[in-house]
Symmetry: C2
Subunit: 343 residues, 2 copies
DNA sequence: CTGAAAGCGCTAACAA
DNA sequence: TTGTTAGCGCTTTCAG
């Protein structure tokens, strides 16, 4: 299709002719084989330079070589949470000359398996997964093929996968405790996307913190925010319009916290005077909004970086030993929480 | 490397055996060739399904078929401006089953040529460029090879490229006029990244608007913000600490406007009471910050979408006719601008 | 309508 | 140290 005898990019074959050697010598030189006579190597390099040769990654990896591509599977690009992680990945990768094959599962839920396989089959040397693991079957498949992959912000129940996570539970516990220590007793919870491990942990920590402080979990104070701003905006009224409004709300992530704040503002409620709001993630917006959001920081960029680093290591060393990394969350106190109004 | 006789993904060869036909028949069926007997097609499809066959994109495109990949070249991922454009691209692409090969030029400035070539050689069927065109030579090369590409938010002086732009000049003119009409006379300008077309246009429109309203351009009121938040933060003091502080500041993009606002706040200046600030872009944060940023909206997501759509069209129709699309900017009045304080 | 054969550009044994 | 020979998985003539 693209090969219509056009000027078409030069191949190693062209370089070989130019340099007066066989094309396997060119291949060897270009892929860093050490036993090539110095003078030959020079000739080849010069010829390649002169012709403006750029390797065809497809062919290279099809032939069993390296593609220098790693695949990344994300749910969508519309979330700065994903953006931050990607940034970390990109930063790490750019130091090692790898490229990104980016897949967005987007609308086609449940198609992760196909996506993963496509990436696997299409030359990527490794896979970074940021998607909710609806079906973990393909993880097994990946493992069986010894295909390097790393899970980001998700845990594999089997414990067989390399993962990069944060202390979701501790972070959420701390957030809840912080609210309690400020004096709050009626604390609402805007939950995350059902099925996600992080969502579950944050909820369970919320409940645990309440219990540990002698507070009962009132299920009517728990609403679903689905980890989105929209979700938070939609869920908040259930909490805010109650006769006995909670004095504080813990949203399972920043996006939904922003939604909650917006809902509060729409009702003329002041944050934090009338209601305290705490989030989770510390996405860039958290420090820009008004009031600045108190939240639990997840080192998203760092997660991306470490995951990428781990993956590269797996690729280089052929090591498949599952490793679990857990990064620390950190309570970031800003302006959206205060003591409850004393009526 | 990956082909260690492992269970390895099934190939068309496996499918062929399973279906009892030759593998070229499988290829034809799978790539939508129409002259395949219905019953044969069924058999093949069933076999493929059963084996969980997923095509190897590399091989396919190497053999002259379609890779279903399009390359995207961006400067970096750290900017929500890029993120928004990517989102648009992704949205459009996900409707047509294309995948993204993402390249971040990042640190290696000037290496765009190599990147572009790599993408070209590596199976992408088209290229979306969001990078500042430092060297336009490779555009010529792309054109020569009839390789489909679209420039986003950049214009090719030669007029030979398909581009998606916005009315930078008009938008900036309108923004400046808006400030003038509010009563401002001393209007500072925080400029964008030198060398970028959009930066130049915005500045020139700023100057033109001033001139048209009988105001002289005071060069000491023009500082460089480099299109970053940091840059805005660093540049603002020059303006804000002047004895005759400008009563309004037009920042060439939102990021730098946010920097300006931050600088103002650090000095105890209120926005917009003490100084009005207007931005450009309308990135997501603009409507979240406090005060909400008055700005000139660029339809970033839409730009991404249209560019992708244009590229796909080029690919499908083999048309190389350069087309220029210019989307409208729009003044979005929010809370960061007001009349100057009447001292 | 379908099979056989020839490559796409490159890497990787295998000799020389 | 370098050339020769096979393919990788797939598309595409070219014959049937």
């Amino acid at each position: 299709m693209r090969n219509d005898k056009k000027p078409g990019a030069p191949t190693i074959y062209d370089v070989a002719r130019e340099a007066g050697v066989s094309y396997s010598t060119v291949s060897r030189t270009l892929s860093g084989y050490e036993f090539v006579k110095y003078s030959t190597r020079e000739k080849v390099l010069r010829a390649a330079e002169k012709l403006g040769y750029v390797p065809n990654l497809q062919a290279r990896s099809l032939a069993g070589g390296r593609s220098n591509m790693i695949g990344v599977l994300v749910p969508a690009l519309s979330n700065s949470y994903v953006g931050e992680i990607l940034r970390g990945i990109d930063e790490e990768l750019s130091e090692s000359d790898y490229n990104l094959l980016l897949y967005t599962t987007h609308r086609r839920r449940g198609k992760e398996t196909t996506y993963a396989t496509t990436i696997t089959n299409s030359g990527a040397e490794g896979l970074l997964l940021v998607v909710p693991l609806t079906s973990a079957t393909y993880l097994a498949a990946l493992r069986e093929q010894d295909f390097p992959y790393v899970l980001i912000d998700q845990s594999d129940p089997s414990g067989q996968s390399t993962t990069v996570n944060t202390t979701n539970w501790q972070g959420a516990y701390e957030a809840t405790r912080y609210l309690i220590e400020l004096g709050h007793r009626r604390i609402g919870f805007v939950s995350g996307l059902a099925g996600l491990n992080s969502a579950a942990e944050r909820y369970s920590a919320y409940a645990a913190a309440l219990a540990d402080h002698g507070l009962a979990v009132d299920e009517s104070l728990v609403v679903n925010g689905g980890f989105t701003r929209r979700g938070g905006l939609a869920a908040a009224p259930t909490l805010l319009d109650r006769p006995t409004r909670p004095t504080a709300i813990f949203a399972a992530n920043d996006l939904s916290a922003l939604g909650v704040i917006e809902a509060a503002r729409q009702r003329g409620l002041r944050v934090p005077e009338d209601v305290s709001v705490i989030g989770f993630d510390d996405i860039p917006q958290a420090s820009i909004v008004y009031p600045k959001l108190t939240t639990v920081r997840q080192p998203l960029v760092e997660m991306g970086r470490q995951a990428a680093a781990l993956l590269l290591e797996q690729i280089e060393h052929h090591s498949t030993e599952p490793r679990q990394i857990t990064l620390e969350t950190e309570l970031v106190v800003r302006d959206s929480c205060g003591p409850p109004a004393s009526p």
